[in-house]
Amino acid sequence: MSFAAIREAVTHFSSLTFLLFAAVVVLVCRLLPKRARWVWLLAASLAFYAAGDWWYLPFLAASVLSTWGLALLIGKQAARDEAALTAARSTLSKDERKALKASQKKKRARLLWVGLVFNFGLLCVLKYTDFVLEGVSGIASLWGAGPIRPLDLILPLGISYYTFRSTAYLIDVFRGKTEAQPNPARYALFISFFPAVVQGPICRYNETAAQLLEPRDADWTDFSAGLLRLLWGYFKKLVVADTAMTAVRAIVSDPERLNGAYAAVLIVVYSAVIYGDFTGGMDISLGLSRMMGITLTENFNRPFSSVSTEEYWNRWHITMGSYFTDYVFYPMSISKPMQRLTVWGRARLGNGIGMRLPVYLATIITWFLTGLWHGASWNFIVWGLLNGAVILISRECKPLYARFHKRFPGAKENRFYQAFCRVRTFLLMGAIRSLDCYRDVGVTFRAFGSIFTRPGTYAELFNGQALEALGLPVASWIMLLAAVVVLWLVGRAGDRKKPAGWQVAEPLSDKPLRWALVCGALLLVILLAGQYGIGFDASDFIYNRF
């Protein structure tokens, strides 16, 4: 294996090279004195990041230095402003103090905006330039202009994640929720911490930085629960997600033929893919961090047990959702233009619509941005807008639900009704999610429509051969089904008071023999049934792309 190949493999969580790298980092971290650990973690994180491509580093450095420097300026400015305000308290009237405060805030806001424009500007240029050029080219072609060639700009690993992490920090410093970190190297560790840099979670500085800068001594529970969660993550990724992905690829590669029932299968199977892939990746990140005595923020909480879309989005990709809520939706909802819109709407359109208008607009813009964040394509934009639309429709239907529950008071607690709500939410989210898979929006909608217009395909689906045509032999389908049942059973097992990711892992730590046997069994299943090595096309984690 060449050095370049080793370097590249380090950044792939599913590679043996990454595991060896991670093992060395964990071991050395435990052996070093507490105060030196953050230096080691920073060195390891930068090495990991540079392993992807040396050219990623300047972009990471730009993000780190800009947000660190501006946050420091904002912090110092805030301290000076506070001192000036205190000094002038006795000499100024209430209105004058208010005016002074506002002018001080404006100064700090300018610094904040510089940071936001620079960082989001960088993200937009690198991620969306070709998407915009494609659109411009399409429009220009209407007037006979030739195609505009894409620029194929470099897209640094995890840029969407670290841009969110760094801008959240900058905003928190501006809001006075977090103190600015004076040491750029320490701040760089927070941004670049290798288990989280590629696909999150999008941790907040005040929740995570202290742990990173002085990781506690990982004890037996940390090690054992972390290792078990790490293995569980690989099980989800290599046994569930990558196996199911074979069928997804087969269906989307031939949507003209494999539609109808196959499109319905895609909705269910792709849910297994994305769940296994993304939550598996998180389990690996969180498990690995825990082995070093660091507890990262949870990103999932049994999302498929959600009974509504709103609940689903409180349980799925939690850190991204809270970012958009805290830094986009709320500030936008209470912004001056929105307040003016409310006033305008109430005067022109009445109280009901006038009150709803800003919330609706903020919701749609937030979901548009959420879609755009996921990827530079119309599929993701439509995906975001559809999610927003479903949430708004659900909100509008609330009185209807209330009437229903008044009529059938026991329904909420009824297990069948709950199961119905869960299945409905699962299918609805799955249907919207199929936009991830197909090549464009039109193909996705046609495939979705065929579910209802091509009933003949349902009989074809279960004749055995059709399942094999999706690239998986019957035995693999059975193994996949068994793996999904295991996921479901484990999701219901353990200590429900603990966070979803630790509910089984932590209690098992107290029983070393059982823990060791479970780890062994999991390792064996991953090694035998996992999609890795020659003969398989073990795919990268889907959320690495974002």
Binding site: L16, M479, L524
Partner: protein, 354 residues
């Protein structure tokens, strides 16, 4: 923390690791291709050990498909009294042939080693499937470890040779009865002393198999790395007092062209190292080969009829150029070889009638 708690935890982890390794080994036995009904050439390497345990060999043929489809130990026995075997595999590369020689020397020291030179055209690892067929059956030693390291293609890892389940887990969904039947039980022998019998006839197609269509060589010399391995083979034979003979099987086809430039280089090498080199391509008529009847795959390889003709022809060369004993009256050899010759004839009759 109390010592016994730490000890308990360590013991639990060790127990689990031992269990996982044992189960992986067992799973590997099931998952490994058995090479009995499909791709039987994958069994050739492993079959040598039982063969060598029964009787020693005066001549060992080493090389790729051009030896295991061309030289028949049973015919060398019946016609010349030579005790021989073939250590060849599909696309056996030159460093793998060197490993076969080294491995053979762990069990016996033949008087003559015949090496087929076609594989000298490859200087780098080629194909994972052929690597596995050649090396998986080899018994573990430093020789095998070196051969694995030298042969691995991109994406292959040494660990998968130690624990084949890590490679062949992709077969989990396609296991057959054969995989379970021979997982822990002995497999039927597919070769006759390393010769893999083919009885079909598919004549060569002159439209394709035409030397005029031979593509031009971009680099006329054989890869330096391949020649280095030949050097090592020569040195090892010299060190152990073995006569090394270089040979080129009498097939020259669109699939595996043999070039005059390569031939000249091998001839020069042989002359420089005082080795005998027999390019049998020009001898096809003398051997009596008829590519409309003596090949089973359009001229790429010989069938049993062609292999018998070649073996008799080469047997004469061996007996005239090397001082090889006729073992037909030797009680240590005769019973074993007479039985093997019968098995060979029976197999031939069965294959031809089926």
């Amino acid at each position: 923390m109390k010592k016994h708690i730490i000890l308990t935890r360590v013991l639990c982890i060790l127990l689990s690791l031992v269990l996982v390794t044992a189960l992986l080994w067992a799973a590997g036995r099931v998952l490994e291709p058995k090479y009995v009904t499909v791709s039987p050439e994958g069994s050739l390497t492993a079959e040598y050990y039982a063969d060598a345990a029964e009787v020693s060999h005066d001549v060992v043929f080493i090389g790729d498909c051009e030896v295991y489809e061309a030289f028949i130990p049973a015919v060398l026995w019946t016609d010349f009294g030579i005790s021989s075997c073939v250590r060849g595999s599909a696309q056996q590369l030159v460093w793998q042939s060197y490993a076969m020689l080294e491995d053979t020397l762990r069990y016996e020291t033949p008087k003559v080693v015949v090496f087929n030179v076609l594989s000298l055209k490859y200087g780098t690892p080629q194909n994972e499937a052929f690597n596995r067929m050649t090396l998986d059956g080899m018994e573990w030693s430093s020789v095998k470890a070196d051969a694995v390291r030298a042969s691995m293609t991109e994406g292959e890892t040494f660990l998968t040779y130690l624990l084949p389940a890590l490679r062949f887990h992709s077969r989990l969904a396609e296991l057959s009865d054969e995989d379970f039947r021979y997982a822990f039980a002995a497999k039927p022998t597919v070769s006759d002393g390393g010769y893999l019998m083919q009885t079909g006839v598919v004549p060569a197609d002159p439209a394709v198999d035409n030397e005029a269509l031979k593509p031009l060589l971009t680099d006329p010399s054989l890869p330096a790395s391949a020649m280095e391995w030949l050097d090592r083979m020569t040195a090892l034979c010299e060190e152990r007092g073995i006569t090394l003979i270089l040979v080129k099987s009498p097939t020259n086809t669109w699939k595996y062209w043999w070039y005059d430039e390569w031939d000249a280089q091998v001839a020069d090498y042989a002359a420089a190292h005082s080795l005998a080199y027999f390019n049998l391509i020009p001898d096809a008529d003398k051997i009596g080969l008829d590519m409309s009847t003596d090949t089973y795959d359009g001229g790429i390889h010989l069938n049993v009829s062609g292999a018998e003709k070649l073996t008799r022809y080469f047997g004469h060369i061996l007996t005239t150029t090397c001082d090889l004993p006729d073992r037909r009256t030797d009680d240590a050899y005769a019973p074993v070889w007479d039985r093997r010759a019968n098995v060979y004839e029976q197999r031939k009759t069965e294959r031809k009638s089926s």
